[in-house]
C-alpha cells in the first residue's frame, strides 16, 4: 500500500502522522512537498495539521492554491481516499473537497485538550476500525475549528450519513460543555459524498501510542491500512 503525506510550508504535524501511519503500515509513508504538480500512484493521501502559510489570509486558504492541491483534488475525484486533519481539514474545505467552513472557536482562544468523540458512521474506509456509537478520546489543538454550514447543508449531511464524528460527553451524551469550539451540531469530522474524503479537527495521530496516554486514534490508521492494503 502506498500512502503519502503532503507537506506545506508551515505544516507541523506531518512527522507526527507519518509516524502514526508507519506504525500501522509497517513502512514510512512518502512525504510530498506542496510544490509538486504530479503525484505518484497512491492509495491514500494525508493532508496534515499545522499552520500552512501561517494561517495568513484564512486558515488553509493559501495552501489550497498550492500546485499539489489540483492533483490531490483530481485523485479525490477518482476515489483515492484523502484524510485531512486539523489544518488539513481546513485546507480540504478551502479546496472545495468538503462542504462548510471552519470559523474562529466560539471561545475565541486556541484550545488544546482531549475531547470525547462519538463515532457516527463506521462504514467508511477511515472509520471501519470503530463501531457506530463508540466513544473515543482524542486531542484537539486549534484556533479555527468551529464547523459551520447552513441548516440545509447540515440537514443534507446528516441525511446522507456524512457526519463522521461528533464531540460528546464521556458517556456519549451531548452537552455544550463538551463542544470545544462551538461547532454546529457538535460536528468534529465530515465526509464527502462518496465518503472517500474525511476532514476532522481532532488529531488521531496524537493518541495512537499508549506511551502518549491513549491509543484511540490507532484504529483509524489500522482500519485504513487493513482495507487499502487488502484491496490490492
Amino acid at each position: 500500500m502506498k500512502a503519502a503525506v503532503i507537506v506545506f510550508p508551515g505544516s507541523n504535524c506531518d512527522r507526527d502522522i507519518q509516524v502514526a501511519l508507519a506504525a500501522s503500515l509497517g513502512h514510512r509513508p512518502q512525504m510530498i512537498w506542496h510544490g509538486e504538480s504530479k503525484l505518484p500512484a497512491l492509495d491514500l493521501i494525508v493532508v496534515p495539521g499545522g499552520f500552512s502559510y501561517g494561517d495568513y489570509l484564512r486558515a488553509g486558504a493559501v495552501a489550497a492554491k498550492s500546485p499539489v492541491m489540483a492533483e490531490v483534488a483530481a485523485r479525490a475525484r477518482a476515489g483515492v481516499p484523502v484524510l485531512g486533519v486539523c489544518n488539513g481539514f481546513q485546507i480540504l474545505i478551502e479546496a472545495g473537497l468538503l462542504p462548510g467552513a471552519l470559523m474562529r472557536n466560539a471561545g475565541l482562544r486556541f484550545v488544546c485538550r482531549e475531547v470525547y468523540l462519538r463515532v457516527e458512521n463506521a462504514g467508511s474506509v477511515f472509520t471501519q476500525g470503530y463501531n457506530v456509537g463508540d466513544v473515543i478520546r482524542l486531542p484537539v489543538a486549534h484556533l479555527d475549528g468551529n464547523y459551520f454550514a447552513d441548516e440545509g447543508t447540515l440537514d443534507a449531511l446528516e441525511d446522507a450519513d456524512r457526519i463522521a464524528f461528533r464531540y460528546c460527553a464521556a458517556n456519549g451524551g451531548a452537552h455544550a460543555n463538551n463542544n470545544p469550539n462551538g461547532s454546529a451540531r457538535a460536528i468534529a469530522g465530515v465526509f464527502n459524498e462518496g465518503k472517500t474524503v474525511l476532514g476532522m479537527m481532532p488529531h488521531p495521530e496524537r493518541l495512537a501510542d499508549d506511551r502518549l496516554g491513549g491509543n484511540d486514534g490507532r484504529a483509524l490508521f489500522d482500519g485504513l491500512v487493513g482495507t487499502l492494503a487488502g484491496a490490492q
Binding site: 508551515g10 507526527d16 499552520f51 482562544r109 486556541f110 489543538a141 488529531h203 506511551r211 502518549l212
Partner: protein
C-alpha cells in the same frame, strides 16, 4: 579588504550630552569610546557602542558574579557564552537549552512581546543545530486587582501560544504567579529545549579569511531599534510610548527558517552561525568576529530591507525578527542559496571575513562605520557595583490559638488562590502535544518529552519562589535550584544541568545588587552541591517602574534525563488502598509561606532553610524508588506545603486519600509549612517494607501519612472534602478571573 586606515572624519562633531545619554552611555563610557577610536564616532558608530555596551548585551554589572557559578561537569559539552548551553544525553545526542527574558516588551505590547520572546529563544537553540522539542516559560504578573493585569495575562498567554503553536513546538510547562511588585513590570521568561546530534553542534566563531558572510531569513525593517537599550533602563511613565521598539513576530517565517537551517546544517556548508536577536546585526556580527578573532566587512546595501531609505544606523540596530547571520565555506553559497530558495526565504551574501580586526561597514558606496572589534568587545565596561546585604525579614506574626481557620477551610482557600490554583486556562492555550512525544503533560512536577524514536525522555521544569528570594536572596537562590532538581527527580529523572534567567531591579541600587549577589551565591552553592551546573543564562536588570522594584526572581530552568519513560511516574494517585509516604523532615516552617501570605495576610518571615545535603540524600533516595519500580506516584512539596501537595495528587489522579493527624505540631504548621527536601510517594502495601528498609539504611526520614482511596480527601480526622469540591476550588479562580471583563 586591504590594510586598514581610519578614514571616518568627525563630520558630525561632538555629540551633546543628551544624545549620549539617550544612547544609554555614561560620560565615562563615552570617554572610553573616544579613547578606543582616537576620534569622535559618527552616529552609526555611537549606536553600535550603545547596544554593545548595554547591560543587556555586555553583562557589565553581573559578569563579576556570574563567573562564580559552576559551569562544568563531565556531561557538559558547552557552557555559558554561546547561544545556548549544550549537554551530552547519551545515544549520540546532545540537549541544547536556554532561558531568556522578554519583560519590558511584554509589558508594553503583551502579545508581540511574549511571542517574540519565544521566537528569540527558539532561534538561540536551533542556531546551534538542535531541533527544538519543547518550550517552557515563567510568568510573573501584578496583583489580580491591578487594572492592567487581566489584559497582560490575556495577551502574554495568547502570544506565547500564538508563536509556539504555529511553529509546532509544544509548550510543556511553566509557572504563572501574581504579586503587586510586578504591577508595573511583569516578567516573561521563555525557555526552549532542543535535541541535536552530539557531533553536529554549530558555534558562532567566525573563521576563514575571505569566507562569505550570509544574511538569511526575514527582511530588515525599522522595528525594535534600541530594544536592547530599552531592556537596560528602568521603566518610566512614558515607557508605553516605546511601543515602536517592540518587535513583531512571524512564527511562520521562523518555521521556514528552522527547517531551512536544519536542512543546511546537514551539509558541511556552515562555518559559523548566530541568530540576530537583541541588537540585531550589530551584536551578531561583532560576536562572531570577536570569537573568531577576525574582521568583517559588510556592504549594508546588500542587506534585504523591508522599506527604502533605511540608514546604516537603522539597519545595524534593527531588531527585526527571524533573521540569522552565517559564515559559509567559500564555494558553498549556491548550494546554500538553493535551500533558502526552496523555503522562500531571503538569502544574501552581505560581506566577507577579513584579517583587519575591524568591522567595516559601507552604505551607498561610502564608509559608514569602521570600528576595531577586539577593543570594543574586550573593553566593554565592567562594574563592581556597590551592594548592601539584605535586611532581615520581618518576624512571623504569632497566630493565636483558635484564630487559625480550620484545616479544610484553609486548604480550600489556598487551592483557590491565584498562585496555587490550577493553570489549565493557561496551558490549554498552548499546543502541548504537537510532535507526538509528550509523555508528561503540563500540570505535574516536570514535563517529560520522549526523545524522538527512543524510549528515553527529557524532563524539564522552570522554578523560582520570588517571595523567598525577597526575604532572603541566598536561601531563595538555593531554593530555586533545589526545587527544579526535586521536580525533575519526582518524575524519575536524573537532573543534569540548568539555565538561569536572573530578573532583578536596577543594579545601580545597592540593595538590589545585594539581592543579586546573594541569589547568585545561593544558586552557585546549590548547583555545586547537586552536581547541577549552569550551562546558559540571561540577566535582566532594571525591572522596576517609577522606583517600585520587583520581587527578585532568579528563575531556574532544569533539564534531566529519564532512561526509560515506561518507568516515569507522575503525581497522579491511581489506585485505591495504597500507602502514602512522606519523605523528608517536617518542621512546620511558616516563614515566607503561601499560608502566611494568603491566609494570615502577612508577607513576613525567613524562607525555609535549604539543607543541600538533605536535598541530595532525599532526592537520590526517591529516584532510586522510582527506578526500582517501588512507587506508583510521586510529587515534590513546595508552595503551600504537605496538604496542598497531597490535594494536587488527589486531583491529578481522581483518587481520594486519608491522612493521619500530626502528633507533635500545630495543625496549620504541619499541613501548610513549606519545609524543603520533601516528597510524597504512593506505594502498594507490598512495597512498603522495602521502602522503609531502604529509608532506614539511607538515613532518610520517612513518615507514613495515610492511605489512598475513595472520592474525598480527609486530613487528620476532619470532615472529608469531596474531590468534586477540591476540583471546584482548584479550577475556579483563573477562568473566573479572566472571564470577568472587570
Amino acid at each position: 579588504m586591504t590594510a586598514h586606515a581610519p578614514t571616518i572624519a568627525s563630520e558630525e562633531g561632538a555629540f551633546t550630552p543628551e544624545v549620549i545619554a539617550s544612547h544609554g552611555l555614561s560620560g565615562t563610557e563615552y570617554g572610553r569610546v573616544l579613547d578606543i577610536l582616537g576620534r569622535t564616532p559618527n552616529l552609526t558608530e555611537l549606536g553600535i557602542f550603545s547596544v554593545m555596551w548595554s547591560e543587556h548585551c555586555s553583562y557589565k554589572s553581573s559578569k563579576k558574579w556570574l563567573r562564580t557559578l559552576p559551569t562544568e561537569a563531565p556531561w557538559v559539552i558547552c557552557g555559558p557564552g554561546e547561544n545556548a548551553g549544550v549537554i551530552d544525553i547519551g545515544g549520540g545526542l546532545a540537549c541544547i537549552f536556554k532561558m531568556e527574558s522578554h519583560n519590558h516588551p511584554s509589558f508594553i505590547e503583551p502579545y508581540q512581546g511574549a511571542a517574540t520572546g519565544v521566537g528569540g529563544i527558539l532561534r538561540d537553540v536551533f542556531t546551534m543545530g538542535a531541533r527544538p522539542i519543547a518550550n517552557l516559560n515563567a510568568l510573573r504578573f501584578g496583583a489580580p486587582e491591578h487594572e492592567k493585569t487581566r489584559h497582560l495575562v490575556s495577551g502574554v498567554v495568547a502570544g506565547i501560544g500564538g508563536y509556539g503553536n504555529c511553529i509546532g513546538v509544544p509548550t510543556l510547562g511553566g509557572e504563572c504567579t501574581f504579586h503587586s511588585s510586578f504591577n508595573g513590570n511583569i516578567l516573561v521568561n521563555a525557555m526552549t529545549v532542543g535535541v541535536a546530534p552530539a557531533d553536529r553542534i554549530f558555534y558562532s566563531s567566525a573563521a576563514g579569511i575571505g569566507n562569505p558572510v550570509v544574511y538569511v531569513g526575514s527582511k530588515t525593517g525599522r522595528d525594535g531599534i534600541h530594544g536592547a537599550t530599552m531592556a537596560s533602563a528602568e521603566f518610566s511613565e512614558d515607557s508605553e510610548e516605546k511601543r515602536p521598539t517592540v518587535q513583531v513576530g512571524d512564527p511562520f517565517t521562523e518555521k521556514l527558517l528552522l527547517e531551512a537551517c536544519l536542512e543546511l546544517m546537514a551539509t558541511d556548508a556552515i562555518i559559523a552561525i548566530q541568530d540576530m536577536g537583541a541588537a540585531g546585526l550589530t551584536s551578531s556580527s561583532f560576536e562572531m568576529a570577536s570569537k573568531g578573532g577576525v574582521g568583517i566587512g559588510l556592504d549594508l546595501d546588500l542587506v534585504p530591507v523591508r522599506e527604502d531609505g533605511m540608514s546604516a544606523y537603522e539597519i545595524m540596530l534593527s531588531e527585526s525578527q527571524e533573521r540569522m547571520l552565517m559564515v559559509l565555506r567559500e564555494g558553498a553559497e549556491d548550494a546554500a542559496r538553493s535551500v533558502f530558495d526552496k523555503w522562500e526565504l531571503d538569502f544574501a551574501v552581505i560581506g566577507r571575513i577579513t584579517d583587519t580586526g575591524h568591522m567595516v561597514l559601507t552604505k551607498d558606496g561610502t564608509l559608514a562605520a569602521d570600528l576595531p572589534i577586539a577593543p570594543l568587545v574586550d573593553s566593554a565596561p565592567e562594574y563592581d557595583r556597590p551592594w548592601s546585604p539584605p535586611p532581615a525579614p520581618a518576624p512571623v506574626p504569632a497566630i493565636e490559638n483558635g484564630k487559625a481557620p480550620s484545616t479544610n477551610d484553609a486548604l480550600l482557600a489556598l487551592l483557590a488562590t491565584p498562585d496555587a490554583c490550577g493553570k489549565r486556562w493557561v496551558w490549554e492555550q498552548y499546543d502541548h502535544m504537537v510532535m507526538a512525544d509528550t509523555v508528561q503533560r503540563p500540570g505535574g512536577d516536570a514535563a517529560v518529552a520522549r526523545i524522538h524514536g527512543t524510549d528515553r525522555g527529557l524532563a524539564m521544569t522552570t522554578d523560582c519562589t520570588p517571595r523567598y528570594v525577597a526575604a532572603d536572596p541566598r536561601t531563595g537562590g538555593r531554593q530555586a535550584v533545589a526545587e527544579a532538581w526535586r521536580n525533575l527527580t519526582a518524575a524519575g529523572a536524573r537532573p543534569l544541568a540548568v539555565t538561569d534567567c536572573l530578573n532583578f531591579g536596577s543594579p545601580e541600587r545597592a540593595e538590589v545588587m545585594g539581592q543579586f549577589v546573594g541569589a547568585v551565591e545561593g544558586i552557585g552553592e546549590a548547583c555545586r552541591a547537586l552536581d547541577f551546573p549552569v550551562v546558559s543564562g540571561n540577566v535582566s536588570f532594571y525591572n522596576e517602574t517609577q522606583g517600585r522594584v520587583i520581587q527578585p526572581a532568579p528563575q531556574i530552568g532544569g533539564v534531566g534525563l529519564i532512561d526509560d519513560v515506561g518507568r516515569m511516574v507522575t503525581p497522579a494517585l491511581k489506585t485505591d488502598g495504597e500507602i502514602l509516604i512522606l519523605i523528608g523532615e517536617t518542621r512546620g516552617h511558616l516563614g515566607a509561606s503561601l499560608y502566611l501570605r494568603e491566609i494570615v495576610g502577612a508577607e513576613a518571615g525567613a524562607p525555609p532553610p535549604v539543607d543541600l545535603a538533605a536535598e541530595r540524600r532525599n532526592g537520590d533516595f526517591v529516584r532510586g524508588l522510582i527506578g526500582g519500580g517501588l512507587v506508583t506516584a510521586c510529587h515534590d512539596l513546595s508552595d503551600g506545603g504537605l496538604l496542598i501537595g497531597v490535594a494536587e495528587m488527589v486531583l491529578a489522579g481522581d483518587t481520594g486519600a486519608t491522612l493521619e493527624a500530626p502528633s507533635a505540631m500545630a495543625a496549620h504548621e504541619y499541613w501548610f509549612g513549606e519545609d524543603q527536601a520533601r516528597y510524597v510517594v504512593s506505594a502498594s502495601a507490598s512495597s512498603q517494607a522495602a521502602i522503609l528498609e531502604r529509608g532506614e539504611a539511607g538515613g532518610v526520614p520517612l513518615t507514613i501519612l495515610g492511605t489512598t482511596g475513595g472520592d474525598a480527601l480527609t486530613a487528620g480526622g476532619g470532615p472529608p472534602i469531596s474531590i468534586e469540591d477540591l476540583r471546584a476550588a482548584f479550577e475556579r479562580w483563573l477562568p473566573g478571573y479572566m472571564d470577568d471583563e472587570g
